[in-house]
Symmetry: C2
């Protein structure tokens, strides 16, 4: 009897636990469950979950686990099961000029300075309007989303139009209005440009998808005063600043000749790094420069395709990573690449460091994938919101099919993502909890009208250059 | 009256001409007319024909012109009209190991010697059988054809199985049986291997699709006697010889230490270049080596992806081209790339030379496309048969779609092919007058069974390495 009493006593003590289990067994509501053969999480433990799933409620991820565990915990209104695919975080583009899609292939095989000064700047002077930027960005978002990019970091003119196009597409963006020291389509002077940017920041500062940013083009295209004003403006709005930095050897040589300092040193002296900064390219940075970038928490956008095609050089990516600098990937503008494809940038980032350093282990597949996901998130200061599949983060994710010959056989999902799968293998995309690509078809934009408009602009642009 | 007489006299004189015109106006029969918005011919004048077409009779091209002219000259039994696409010569792969598709991604981010000796050679020793080669090559052919490659140059074991798989796929191949100085799956000794190769050459020597070849693996894996015997055997059958050459610095250093000569010099001294030769990689060739390659008419297979991924180095491609050496492109085996995609190799070949030589004009798009077409044909000694769209040549051609966002807008079809279009944009493929891909679907192979078999082999190979 005493034994029975003891037993009863134990049972009572277990009641709260049983209650909690019962509650837990009661499935929680979710808007979506997406399941796949492999879930690449990019979480701190770099978990790859076989037969995994992600539950989404509203704009956020609420669970990441095996499909069995997710199905036990959540009851979803809608679901997408992809038994022969990888589910991965949406890819993060840390540097592009999306609207320049309309200049894709207009001038190739030229030096950056010739390419800019003889082709791109004149073509822009004659063609860039708000409508041009709107349509060009729609084209860019279309290509990016179909290729698995869910966040893009942009620098262009009429950036309000870029923001509107991104919102139409349902795509996340850190979108920087260009400030440059000569008259351009949306501003006659840097002062005009700063005023334009201020209005733009005010308009989009609370947008759920768009993070508006201030984008002084480069040190060599802006006065010191403008650069300081750009930083001050960005800080007033808590906005990031985006700038090209040490893309070419010439940029460095000119600055060294002018004031015996590297561009990084000068920008630091001017206080430009006193706040969230994304520096694109950073090809010609030395040890002292990298120490500054590290100390100032400057994020670096590495653009291997563009740096190769324009023969700008090879950025010291492995060194920057070893120093703990946040490094992400960017395709740069589609006029110097000539596409917007982060699968290619991952593959190239790995291969270019290997061959340049003559070390096949210099930048492994896992690092390349991290650069395109969590690394990019860190560059943008958004590592708590995006870059991995973890409960609490924004639901930005992609499904990549494994049923094509280039995916077979599969030994390692991460190696396959970087070296064998393509942007064209992306099948489904969700941004901020909203499906935007389904079965490789865009759900948010009118593809036919965008392609027709691109052909119209092609005729207009060609005529303008004659 | 005299005027009328003169007129009549002129008329009579014109009769043969009129007769010829009438004959010409009578459309000639053709089996196929394929038309497209642009026909990139890669003919000696590098013509790109807007609204062009190609007429095919039997295995050969009989006409290449504007669609209007082709329609006037030919009456075709069947036609394929692609108003929003490029029609181009089939791409030519000058170096691969197609069956190694089954090892795709098995071991990455390693040095060539470690990768070979610790992973690939053991995996091959445990798994390579005739069936393995047959299925692996089927998988490779599937990926290659869907990506626009119509001719591949292969080096592997059981090459008779490779040849049979190529014939099943309807794909053209220059297919070399490997000869190597240690026991392998299809031969215990080089002598066995030479005997195997002789039978193989005899069996396929008159095949319309397969050019059988002799493939001593490399200088460092074969004795001098075997290399000489391989050359003699090749010459007895008028067959090409395929060999890896100066892929790594180690290969050069070892040979220099051994007999104070570069691998190229040694092979030349041994007489290995006395006949049609395809040398793969040629990363570490110096000026004297290149002079030898030029003098001996050795064709070079440049493999940029593989050379980057294995950190082998950067081949002096622009120098070889300037010297007039025939240089083609190869993806190398899909275990070191990790795909079989000549669109990527074109893009990389251009970008890698640019950044390495710090010259954005080092290797323009037109040269990259030529390397993948006529350049490859010259490497194989098949420049009279394949590599361009010209009347009299074999009908090997591809249709590449222009209706996707990455193709818009289009300023220059050649730039677009190299820098913006992808293997996945290939829509239709013809080899030797036979359609083998239609609407991105393979017509000749059973894709589902190949992918299922790849998954089976993956399980078997993984288990064998534990």
């Amino acid at each position: 009897m005493s034994r029975s009493c003891k037993f009863n006593g134990r049972l009572w003590a277990l009641l709260p636990v049983l209650f909690a289990v019962a509650l837990r067994a009661q499935p929680q509501p979710a808007d979506w469950i997406w399941s796949a053969r492999y879930v690449i999480t990019e979480d701190p433990r770099h978990r790859v979950i076989e037969n995994g799933a992600v539950a989404v409620r509203g704009e956020r991820i609420v669970g990441v686990d095996t499909a069995a565990a997710i199905d036990a915990r959540f009851h979803a209104a809608q679901r997408l099961d992809r038994p022969d695919a990888i589910l991965a975080p949406g890819l993060i583009d840390t540097h592009t000029h999306a609207a320049m899609s309309l200049f894709r292939g207009i001038a190739d095989d030229l030096r950056l300075q010739d390419w800019l000064e003889k082709y791109i700047f004149p073509a822009e002077a004659k063609n860039v309007t708000p409508e041009f930027v709107r349509w060009g960005t729609r084209l860019g978002c279309l290509e990016m989303l179909l290729g698995g990019t869910t966040t893009f970091t942009d620098m262009y003119y009429f950036e309000d139009q870029v923001a509107e196009a991104a919102k139409e597409a349902g795509m996340r963006g850190v979108l920087g209005e260009t400030i440059i020291g000569f008259p351009v389509a949306d501003a006659k002077t840097p002062r005009d440009s700063l005023a334009f940017t201020e209005k733009y920041l005010a308009r989009f500062r609370h947008d759920p998808l768009v993070t508006p940013a201030v984008a002084p083009h480069a040190l060599y295209t802006n006065s010191d005063e403008t650069l300081k004003a750009a930083r001050a403006l960005a800080n007033r709005f808590g906005a990031p600043l985006i700038i090209h930095l040490s893309e070419t050897r010439k940029e460095n040589d000119d600055e060294l000749a002018k004031r015996h300092a590297t561009p990084t040193q000068t920008l630091d002296n001017l206080g430009v790094f006193n706040g969230r900064t994304v520096a694109a390219h950073c090809v010609w940075v030395n040890e002292a420069d990298m120490a500054i970038l590290k100390e100032r928490h400057v994020g670096v956008a590495h653009c291997p395709s563009s740096n190769m095609k324009l023969a700008s050089g090879v950025a010291p990516v492995t060194r920057m990573l070893a120093l703990g600098i946040a490094v992400g990937l960017g395709p740069d503008g589609p006029a110097s690449n000539n596409d917007l494809n982060l699968f290619e940038e991952m593959d190239l980032a790995a291969k270019l460091q290997k061959v340049t350093r003559m070390d096949p282990q210099a930048l492994p597949a896992s690092t390349a994938l991290e650069m395109a996901t969590m690394g990019g998130a860190r560059v943008l200061g958004m590592e708590r919101e995006i870059g991995s599949l973890e409960a609490g983060k924004r639901a930005d994710m992609i499904v990549v099919r494994l049923d094509r010959p280039n995916a077979a056989p599969l030994y390692d999902p991460v190696s396959q993502m970087v070296y064998a799968l393509k942007g064209e293998d992306v099948r489904d995309v969700m941004v901020n909890g909203r499906p935007v690509v389904r079965d490789a078809r865009i759900l948010t934009l009118n593809e036919a009208s965008i392609l027709a408009k691109a052909a119209e602009y092609r005729a207009q642009i060609s005529a303008s250059l004659k």
